[in-house]
């Protein structure tokens, strides 16, 4: 709002790195964690600059989609498309966000988070 408008439209550029695709191949929660192996980093060298940067980040330590977007300065939607591609291509492994169903599973997670907070 109120920013000078690029005559080409300020959405063309962000989504250019996804070749214009705006729909990810799978939905990835903002907090879901992604991990890359060393082998995946080597492979990602040929997958383009942004995917390579993402692989390097996720090889150094597990990173959430939110962290990937923030650290690469990509808009969240763009990061989600790239990350979903990389998961589909075996360059990243997608780890699970919190369980939404099942009393025992949800309670176990809450207990672990609570004990983690108390140890801070």
């Amino acid at each position: 709002m109120g920013q000078p408008q690029d005559p080409r439209g300020n959405l063309v550029r962000p989504y250019a790195v996804t070749r214009g695709r705006t729909e990810p191949r799978r939905d990835i929660p903002i907090e879901a964690v992604l991990v890359a192996s060393q082998a995946a980093v080597q492979e990602a060298r040929f997958a383009g600059h942004d995917k390579y940067r993402i692989a390097v980040l996720c090889e150094a330590k597990p990173q959430s989609l939110a962290e990937i977007a923030a650290l690469t300065r990509l808009p969240l939607g763009v990061g989600r498309v790239l990350v979903a591609d990389m998961v589909a291509d075996g360059l990243l492994s997608l780890h699970s966000a919190a369980p939404k169903k099942g009393f025992t599973e949800r309670m176990d997670l809450l207990e672990r988070v609570l004990s983690g907070l108390r140890k801070l």
């Binding site: 709002m1 408008q5 300020n10 959405l11 063309v12 962000p14 989504y15 214009g20 705006t22 729909e23 903002i30 907090e31 879901a32 964690v33 991990v35 890359a36 192996s37 060393q38 082998a39 995946a40 492979e43 090889e59 597990p62 959430s64 939110a66 962290e67 977007a69 923030a70 650290l71 808009p75 969240l76 939607g77 990061g79 989600r80 998961v87 291509d89 075996g90 360059l91 990243l92 492994s93 997608l94 780890h95 699970s96 966000a97 919190a98 369980p99 939404k100 009393f103 949800r106 309670m107 997670l109 809450l110 672990r112 988070v113 609570l114 983690g116 907070l117 108390r118 140890k119 801070l120």
Partner: protein
């Protein structure tokens, strides 16, 4: 995860679970300060693009004629174990970005609505939002220096906070205080889950 991708990319055999807690509240209420008090990283900012028309999508490219705007969300991280990470997400302050809140609360453990006692009216909109969502939340009064001090009961009445919603005092700058807020969120989430399981109304906690 399919077999092929876990074979090639699975450096760590264990599944890493990530949980998130949402820190909500009006603009300038101290959400990022709160996140920064306990996060192991400097709070990061992730940005989403959307049309100013306020569609509920992070995808404005299909409507190139419309003006677009950037919504920023600050967040922090607490690595609790090799296989457990807690993320704290601050909501965008501006209420016109509520559709972004929907994405943030999806799958969250719970939320804390941060209230500045100098601008209590700013809390009405966030509280309304959570009252109509299926997510356990608590209210945390951020005690700024020189801010008017109210009794928690006065604030509860002024903001019409339902009796089952815990209300705590905090100082967003102090780690122990913030830790206490987060503990309350999780304890309230547990109590809510237990109450749901037994088919009752969420119990009064705290």
């Amino acid at each position: 995860m399919d077999f092929a991708s876990s074979e090639r990319a699975g450096a760590q055999p264990r599944e890493i679970t990530s949980a998130k807690i949402v820190i909500a509240g009006g603009f300038g209420v101290g959400k990022t300060t709160l996140v920064g008090s306990v996060s192991e990283i400097e709070p990061l900012t992730t940005e989403a693009l959307m049309t100013s028309a306020g569609q509920g999508v992070d995808d404005a490219s299909k409507v190139p004629g419309k003006e677009t705007t950037t919504v920023a969300m600050d967040f922090g991280r607490i690595t609790m174990a090799d296989d457990l990470i807690l993320y704290l997400f601050g909501t965008p302050g501006q209420t016109r970005f509520w559709f972004m809140w929907d994405e943030l609360i999806r799958g969250a453990v719970g939320a804390a609505v941060l209230v500045d006692t100098r601008r209590i009216a700013d809390a009405f909109a966030p509280l309304d939002y959570f009252e109509n969502r299926h997510l356990p939340y608590i209210v945390a009064l951020n005690c700024f220096d020189n801010a008017p001090r109210y009794e928690p009961d006065e604030v509860r009445e002024a903001l019409a906070i339902p009796p089952h919603v815990p209300l705590v005092l905090c100082d967003a700058r102090h780690r122990d205080s913030v830790k206490g807020v987060l503990v309350q969120v999780v304890e309230h989430a547990m109590a809510t889950l237990v109450a749901e399981q037994s088919g009752g109304y969420p119990a009064v906690v705290g």
